[in-house]
């Protein structure tokens, strides 16, 4: 029998407790140890370390951007079902600004002229060998290959830094706007605040689209400055939203397990989050294949080389792993209703998918490290400590952002709808 629940919060605890906040220094220490260990095991090879750092950074950034998109799209569609999980997305979205600080480790060397990560930061990047690059580097600027001169207008350390800072400020402002307004509503219960967020969500979505497009060009695609794909940002976005949804799901489960917001998030919400995740698994596969097939079919060497790198040796194995693990296995695994309504199963699938999403970014970024030799780089001793460390820092950031703030919107006008949400 269907009962209508009153539109009010009934959980005893709706914030993180002191234990979580006390864990923050510990998490930061884990992060520092992880990063330090990783750097140590590279033999203080800063290039190798920067690349794995960038992989983890982009992995975490995509999660935050996925959550930011979740917030924007919720307001744009005036969604009621997800009100109880929206605050988690708001908190994760707010993490983009602190993540900007983490990007300084990449950005500052670029400003000082390092081309170890972003090869376009030094002349000769269009060469096919080290020797050729050295020859080009010796040429006067005006006789360098036209592609370097033309792309140099966009890919240079100054403009890159301006853009990078702008992205983080814009995302931070968006996250801050939604979080602040939503927190203000917790106090006042003013419906006007919801209307304001709804009205602004449309222009914000446009700005979000522009920033995610160019940031994915800048942070990941420009690692291979000769290559280009207009599909790339969509690919980045597909993975980002999928991982954002999973992160919201897993965080909600973790919070409920530790006795928070136990009443507000129900199987119905997990079921719907699982459905969206399922949809974006398929979307990711669709975009990934579309990008691949267009390039494969056109067979233009300027585009195919990027995939050729990723089809050989260890990278080829990784590519197949992605096809299976990022698409087919999770597709079949969480296709069923029963699977999506089982929290344990969904949690397992979510963790598996996050690992695959990490592999996805590894696959996007790491092959560009040895651009002339294309050797397989996976080394668990370097990669895993770095990943563990970065994730620990990210959790610490989340705990800091969440602090003693309510983990559900307390007085959202659609709270009742979310609490009574039921799907068949």
């Amino acid at each position: 029998m269907h009962e209508t629940r009153p539109a009010k919060i009934t959980s005893d605890v709706v914030t993180l407790n002191d234990g979580h906040l006390k864990a923050m220094p510990l998490l930061l220490i884990v992060g520092a140890i992880g990063l330090g260990l990783s750097l140590l095991l590279t033999g203080f090879n800063f290039e190798r370390f920067s690349f794995i750092y960038l992989v983890n950074f982009c992995f975490l950034l995509s999660i935050s951007l996925g959550c930011l998109f979740f917030v924007i799209i919720s307001h744009l569609t005036r969604a009621g079902w997800n009100v109880t999980v929206r605050r988690l997305a708001e908190l994760f979205a707010m993490c983009t600004l602190p993540l900007g600080l983490l990007f300084l480790l990449i950005l500052v060397p670029v400003l000082f002229g390092s081309s170890s990560v972003y090869s376009w930061n030094a002349p000769g990047w269009s060469a096919h060998s080290v020797e050729q690059a050295a020859v080009i580097a010796d040429l006067p600027a005006e006789v360098r290959p036209p592609i370097e001169q033309e792309k140099g207008g966009y890919l240079n350390s100054g403009f890159f830094s301006v853009r990078a800072i702008a992205y983080f400020l814009i995302w931070g402002a968006m996250g801050w706007f939604f979080l602040k307004t939503s927190l203000a509503q917790d106090e006042s219960g003013d419906v006007g605040l919801t209307k304001r967020m709804q009205a602004l969500s449309a222009p914000i979505l446009i700005l979000f689209a522009v920033t995610i497009v160019f940031s994915s060009f800048d942070f990941e695609m420009s690692l291979s400055p000769l290559w280009f794909s207009t599909m790339f940002p969509v690919y980045f976005f597909a993975g980002a939203f999928m991982s954002g949804l999973i992160t919201i799901t897993l965080t909600a489960m973790w919070l409920q397990k530790s006795g928070r917001v136990t009443d507000e998030i129900t199987t119905e919400h997990y079921h719907d989050l699982g459905k969206l995740t399922f949809g974006f698994i398929v979307f990711w596969g669709y975009i990934a294949f579309s990008q691949f097939m267009l390039i494969w079919y056109a067979n233009i060497p300027e585009e195919t080389f990027w995939y050729r790198y990723r089809m050989e040796g260890g990278w080829g194995v990784l590519s197949l792993l992605l096809v299976a693990g990022h698409l087919f296995i999770p597709f079949l695994a969480i296709m069923g209703r029963t699977a999506r309504r089982s929290q344990k199963f969904l949690a397992g699938a979510g963790i598996f998918l996050l690992v695959m999403h990490w592999v996805d970014h590894y696959w996007l970024i790491m092959p560009e490290m040895n651009q002339y030799t294309n050797s397989f780089t996976f080394n668990p001793l370097i990669d895993i400590p770095c990943a563990v460390g970065m994730i620990a820092i990210y959790i610490a950031i989340f705990c800091y952002v969440a602090r003693n703030r309510p983990l559900v919107p307390l007085k959202d006008p659609r709270l009742g709808e979310a609490l009574n949400h039921a799907v068949h």
């Binding site: 029998m1 269907h2 209703r337 039921a422």
Partner: protein, 477 residues
């Protein structure tokens, strides 16, 4: 229709009306708990919780769609494989048609079609499965004869308990429904005459089937007879396309001059163009030349590919200069990639017997059937024929004068009056023939006629003279 007497109609259930969804759901729950199974609820909009209330199981449909979609994946792939790459099928074999050097079957290109086949099949499975599971189409439902029921699409809620339910009892069920809050209860009766089709339906159906058979019958009839009428052109611009075919004159321009100076509609390939897959950069394999050989003049008829493009322009202008042949340019061993073994030589024998033996003879003595006949005609002055060469000749056999590469070149481009076979015999097969010819020469096989003569009493000398005769022919050409 017929009057509603008890004899003509059958009770199929009791229909109870409720005024709001909540009382409908609670009544459904009560009915389910009371043990009723054959019942259905009707409401103007989907009511939350009604499915578990009337005990509806999860639909089979998603599983059905999954199975169909999964199967469609293989059907889609298989269909493309069959139409593109399958030549092995004993009945209706496919035809592997190579286009622009692309692979016959390549998975990425087939994914979009497979995807679409999955989507289409799943959509059909969903739609038809929904109809099937709902037992549609249902042309008549006794509920529609109850005027009260019309408000089920408007503002009222109904629960029908069917008589086929084991627990159904006319009076007891009615009192239960009343107890559960029914506002009104009505009998739902099925008019038994409903089951009988009006007589004209059958007639119209038969007529329809007959009419449907007409087109195929007419088509089959026309397929089996001749017709004086011109062919029917259904899509004229497919039948008469605005295009120039091969080997026709180029379109005439207004001032009476042809569009192209060579007056052809079909353009020639650009000079130096190399067909896909025919780069043939390996001179040893494709031309029997040593790797480091470079012709002395660009006008030479023998070219390596490296020079082919640059030389091709001059190539057309003058005939190949009579450059003195440098025997050292020919390959003296088999090229890399050719393994000479039993199978290879046997392949060479088979090819030799097909292509070469007609003139040169099975034993390579230059006495093939064509040669014999032509020589006979030539003796009468009815034909001009230069005798085919015996491959057991000293000059032919001599590796220093006629190395392997030169034999290969002879097969490919012909020599003297012998025509070129390069366009007919694939490269590996030409090398196989070379191998077989060398094998023949090394065994020093005696002329077949000599063998026959030996058996008959031995007249070797006579045959040796014949060999000498064909030697002389070499000098003439």
């Amino acid at each position: 229709m017929a009057d509603k007497h008890d004899n003509d109609s059958k009770l199929v259930g009791l229909l109870a009306q409720f005024d709001d969804p909540d009382s409908l759901v609670s009544a459904c729950n009560e009915a389910r708990l009371a043990g009723y199974k054959s019942m259905d609820a009707y409401s103007p909009f989907p009511v939350h919780g009604i499915d578990p209330a009337i005990g509806i199981q999860r639909s089979l449909l998603p599983f059905l769609v999954f199975v169909v979609g999964f199967g469609a994946c293989f059907v889609g792939l298989g269909m493309q494989y069959y139409t593109n790459a399958a030549e092995w099928s004993p009945i209706f074999p496919g035809y592997a048609f190579k286009i622009s050097g692309k692979p016959i079957f390549s998975l990425p290109a087939n994914i979009p079609v497979t995807f679409e086949v999955i989507v289409l099949s799943s959509a059909f499975a969903t739609f038809l499965g929904m109809w099937g599971l709902n037992k549609l189409p249902m042309f008549s439902n006794p509920l529609h004869r109850i005027s009260r029921f019309k408000r089920a699409t408007n503002d009222k809620f109904f629960l029908m308990i069917e008589t086929k339910d084991e627990k159904f009892n006319r009076s007891e069920t009615e009192s239960q429904l009343n107890q559960w809050g029914a506002v009104a209860i009505e009998e739902c009766r099925q008019d038994l005459t409903d089951n009988q089709l009006p007589s004209w339906v059958r007639l119209v159906g038969l007529l329809g089937v007959f009419l449907l058979m007409l087109p195929p019958v007419m088509i089959f009839r026309n397929m089996g007879m001749t017709n004086r009428q011109p062919r029917l052109h259904v899509v004229p611009d497919m039948d008469w396309q605005h295009k120039e075919k091969t080997q026709v004159l180029s379109p005439v321009m207004e001032n009476g001059e042809y569009l192209f100076a060579d007056e052809r509609a079909m353009r020639q390939p650009v000079d130096g163009a190399i067909p896909r897959g025919r780069l043939e950069i390996d001179s040893e394999m494709y031309r029997g030349l040593k790797k480091d050989y470079r012709p002395k003049s660009a006008a030479s008829s023998i070219k390596t590919n490296a020079q082919f493009v640059s030389a091709s322009l001059e190539d057309k202008k003058e005939a190949p200069a009579a450059e003195a042949e440098d025997v050292s340019m020919w390959l003296t061993k088999f090229p890399e990639g050719i393994t000479v073994d039993q199978d290879f030589v046997e392949r060479g024998q088979q090819r030799f017997n097909i292509y070469c033996s007609a003139c040169h003879g099975y034993d390579a003595n230059g006495n093939g059937l064509v040669n014999q006949k032509a020589m006979a005609l030539g003796a009468n002055g009815q034909a001009q024929w230069t005798a085919a060469k015996s491959l057991h000749d000293a000059t032919v056999k001599d590796d220093s004068k006629n190395p392997l590469g030169r034999i290969f070149d002879t097969i490919t481009n012909g020599r003297n009056t012998m025509g070129p076979y390069g366009s007919q015999i694939p490269v590996e097969d030409r090398w196989a023939i070379v191998a077989y010819v060398k094998a023949l020469q090394q065994t020093g096989i005696k002329p077949l006629t000599a063998v026959v003569d030996e058996d008959a009493g031995g007249e070797d000398d006579k045959k040796s003279d014949a060999d000498g005769g064909s030697d002389a022919e070499d000098k003439t050409s």
